[in-house]
């Protein structure tokens, strides 16, 4: 038994050594875990920030200026006033502004008369995220203006003193109270990176041996197929877990200050099981493909749906129904659920043991299938 383990370790060492000799690959992996995670967290926010807008003010009154003055940072950046519809549409077409606020000529007059008036918001909805957010923020802004105006006309100083039935809605955002994008994106990115590497690396390691013919050497060595394949997965586990440690402690923890609510050990344990499951898939792909090109293309094809079905980019309920059923098949969806639950929600093993077990079973089946296929090829 000792010899058995020694052989496994010797081969694991060989894999690690081989990996470390491909400098470009090492640098790429390091960049994935540090650079990409950082860039995802810092650069991209699905938020309305400094959205460029122009105002077409046909009224030029105190009231209209008052209304427009609410358009301010960090949400909007007012580039100025335009006079003609044509000019405004040109700016929209060129993508230089995302919205035009069109204030009618009799804006103040009607307000003072106690009549209803309306402001047109022409919104570039080619980017749907910005369309949604801009519409939502502008409506809230308009509601605020209305309330201020109402209080002014009713000569009430303090809104609290109105005697009228009203439902005051208190809102509380859980897990990420300030809605910081820097919490969600880096973790999501890190999980994507883990998936990518756990799928690619074992597939590449195995097919390369097949292509170069070094697999013949391994098969004549006193090793069982399990002993040949298992060290590859071990090596991948070590490489990725190291990367995850740097990512979680360094980038996610130290740079973005994401609070780690659950147990770090549990998170690493779950990650380990996840890497096992995905490398099982990589192994299976490697065992069915003949050359690296094939293996990489197939893993790529598996990767995309897996990532998108997982809920890493969009929550499950936003997917069409047929996709919601497929979610069960994506190992990443289990991991995302567990990972976020541990990091942001502080979940413990009691809450997640069932998906964890499912993930382990999924990985074992794939590993076993790969092993059978591999065995058949050797004979």
């Amino acid at each position: 038994m000792r010899l058995w383990w020694l052989r496994v370790f010797a081969l694991t060492q060989k894999e690690l050594l081989q990996f470390s000799r491909d400098m470009i690959l090492v640098v790429a992996v390091a960049w994935f875990f540090i650079g990409e995670v950082y860039v995802a967290g810092s650069g991209v926010k699905m938020e309305l920030i400094n959205a460029p807008v122009v105002i077409m003010d046909h009224d030029r009154s105190e009231a209209s200026r008052d209304w427009a003055s609410q358009l301010k940072a960090p949400y909007y950046k007012v580039l100025g006033y335009v006079n003609s519809q044509q000019e405004a549409y040109d700016l929209l077409d060129k993508g230089e502004v995302i919205a035009i606020f069109d204030i009618p000529a009799d804006f103040e007059k009607r307000l003072l008369l106690g009549q209803k008036t309306s402001i047109q918001l022409e919104l570039d909805a080619s980017n749907i995220i910005i369309g949604n957010l801009a519409n939502s923020y502008s409506s809230l802004m308009n509601a605020e203006f209305n309330q201020k105006w109402m209080l002014k006309t009713m000569k009430i100083v303090d809104a609290e003193t109105i005697q009228a039935p009203m439902v005051e809605l208190r809102q509380k955002i859980y897990y990420n109270p300030e809605g910081k994008a820097t919490w969600f994106m880096p973790i999501s990115e890190m999980m994507t990176v883990i998936t990518l590497l756990a799928l690619f690396l074992p597939a590449a390691m195995i097919v390369r041996e097949k292509e170069r013919g070094t697999i013949e050497q391994l098969t004549v060595a006193p090793l069982t197929p399990f002993q040949i394949l298992f060290p590859k997965i071990l090596a991948v586990e070590i490489i990725i877990l190291l990367g995850v440690a740097v990512s979680v402690l360094g980038v996610v923890g130290a740079v973005f200050q994401v609070p780690f609510r659950g147990s770090l050990i549990l998170f690493f344990f779950v990650t380990m099981v996840y890497i096992y499951a995905v490398s099982g898939l990589g192994l299976f792909i490697a065992s069915v493909s003949r050359n690296l090109g094939q293996a990489l293309m197939v893993s790529f094809m598996v990767l995309m749906p897996m990532m998108l079905l997982s809920g890493a980019w969009t929550p499950k309920e936003a997917m069409p129904e047929f996709q919601q059923y497929l979610v069960v098949l994506s190992p990443l969806s289990y991991y995302i659920d567990m990972g976020y639950s541990i990091i942001l929600k502080g979940a413990t093993i009691q809450l997640i043991w069932w998906p964890l077990l499912q993930l382990f079973a999924l990985g074992s089946i794939l590993f076993w299938l790969g092993l059978i296929q591999f065995n058949r090829q050797l004979k």
């Binding site: 650069g43 502008s138 439902v167 208190r170 090109g293 094939q294 790529f300 749906p305 936003a318 659920d337």
Partner: protein, 384 residues
């Protein structure tokens, strides 16, 4: 440079792809599958948000209030929870995204003309979605208040409903969505996916194709032949450009038919721009393949160089104008943003040559630089 030699290399490359049936199938399947999955999967529609309510009042008024939420197409009512603990555990398991709590005495206080506080607890995991949900909830609540106040003032002071409404909300904001009138995620991200998929797939295909020769050693045949490096690279790329262009046509057809995106622009412009963009994407793959030695690193680096920047720094998820300076610079350095301008310009905005020629010029320049670099960097000699 001889055309016959370029043709020979191209034929050889094409035969190689043709004989590897799995690779060939993948070359055409990957873009299609990506388009379906990404187009439908990256839905940014915030609709049918599952939520539960906790009603401590259980009166007609509280049910009426709840109806305003459960009848909205934005929310999907999952029933009543007994208490906060039960509801929160559902949220912990990602079954619901939002909890509405109606306090005891809801009806009594409102009928007495008093204020009452309700509470909404929103799952903040998905930052963008939670912000939109927050906005929806506030809007529904504001609407309800408006109704309450109208009834109240009508009863108390005998005002006309229209006067009350003019007093309460004198300004209404009318939003007109341009370019994407129905606010369809498929129109927006769906057509944008053409850019993302056609950035990744050709680059990956080309990178693997060139590095394969290096890794298997067949590149030595080229080193020893009379083919010049320009001829080799041009010949090598032609089949990949052809495949990718075909793919792009298929994806465009998918956007039009499967996603129902309108095409308002100039088809000729779009086709010319597509050729430019495809050469750009293959150029990226080519450039990567010159730098690396193994297919594994080629695949990883191509993905690194295309997927994440294509998704994050192209304006697909977040407009370039809202990015901070380093991200903005990165966006301008990559071809994705220009192609997205062309795709959205052609499909949604109906722009023509006068609006888009700048983007096309940059794409042309980009592919020339990449190809030039690749030819310059490609050495017909083994580095010792």
């Amino acid at each position: 440079m001889k055309w016959s030699r370029i043709k020979t290399i191209s034929t050889k490359e094409w035969l190689e792809i043709w004989r590897d049936k799995l690779y060939l199938a993948m070359a055409f399947l990957i873009p299609v599958i990506m388009m379906v999955v990404l187009g439908f999967g990256m839905s940014m529609d915030v609709e049918k948000i599952p939520f539960v309510a906790i009603d401590y009042d259980k009166t007609e008024q509280s049910r009426d209030y709840l109806h305003n939420f459960s009848d909205s197409r934005y929310f999907d009512y999952q029933g009543m929870a007994a208490n906060e603990k039960q509801a929160e555990s559902m949220m912990d398991q990602n079954k619901i995204r939002f909890i509405l709590i109606i306090p005891p005495g809801f009806q009594e206080k409102l009928q007495a003309g008093k204020k009452v506080q309700s509470q909404s607890l929103i799952d903040g995991l998905f930052t963008y979605q939670s912000k939109v949900v927050k906005g929806y909830v506030l809007a529904i609540n504001a609407n309800y208040n408006q109704q309450l106040l109208q009834n109240w003032f009508a009863k108390k002071q005998g005002m006309k409903p229209s006067d009350i409404s003019a007093m309460l909300s004198p300004v209404s904001l009318e939003t007109r969505y341009l370019y994407n009138e129905q606010m369809s995620s498929l129109w927006s991200t769906g057509s944008g996916m053409i850019m993302l998929v056609m950035l990744m797939a050709p680059a990956l295909l080309t990178a693997l194709g060139v590095v394969r020769e290096k890794e298997s050693g067949s590149i030595f045949n080229i080193y020893a032949s009379t083919v010049t490096r320009t001829e080799f690279i041009l010949g090598k790329l032609l089949p990949y450009i052809a495949i990718s262009f075909l793919n792009l046509l298929v994806l465009t057809w998918m956007a039009l038919v499967l996603f129902g995106v309108p095409f308002k622009g100039d088809p000729v412009l779009y086709l010319v721009a597509s050729v430019l963009f495809v050469s750009c994407a293959t150029g990226i793959g080519l450039f990567v393949s010159i730098l690396v030695k193994t297919q594994a690193s080629a695949a990883l680096i191509t993905l690194l160089g295309t997927m994440i920047p294509g998704m994050m720094f192209s304006g697909l998820l977040m407009p370039v104008s809202s990015m901070d300076t380093p991200a903005k610079i990165e966006a301008h350095l990559l071809p994705g943003m220009y192609e997205l301008n062309i795709v959205w310009g052609s499909f949604l905005k109906g722009q023509g040559w006068s609006d888009l020629w700048g983007n096309m010029a940059i794409l042309a320049l980009y592919s020339m630089v990449l190809w030039g670099l690749a030819i310059w960097k490609f050495k017909k000699r083994v580095a010792s």
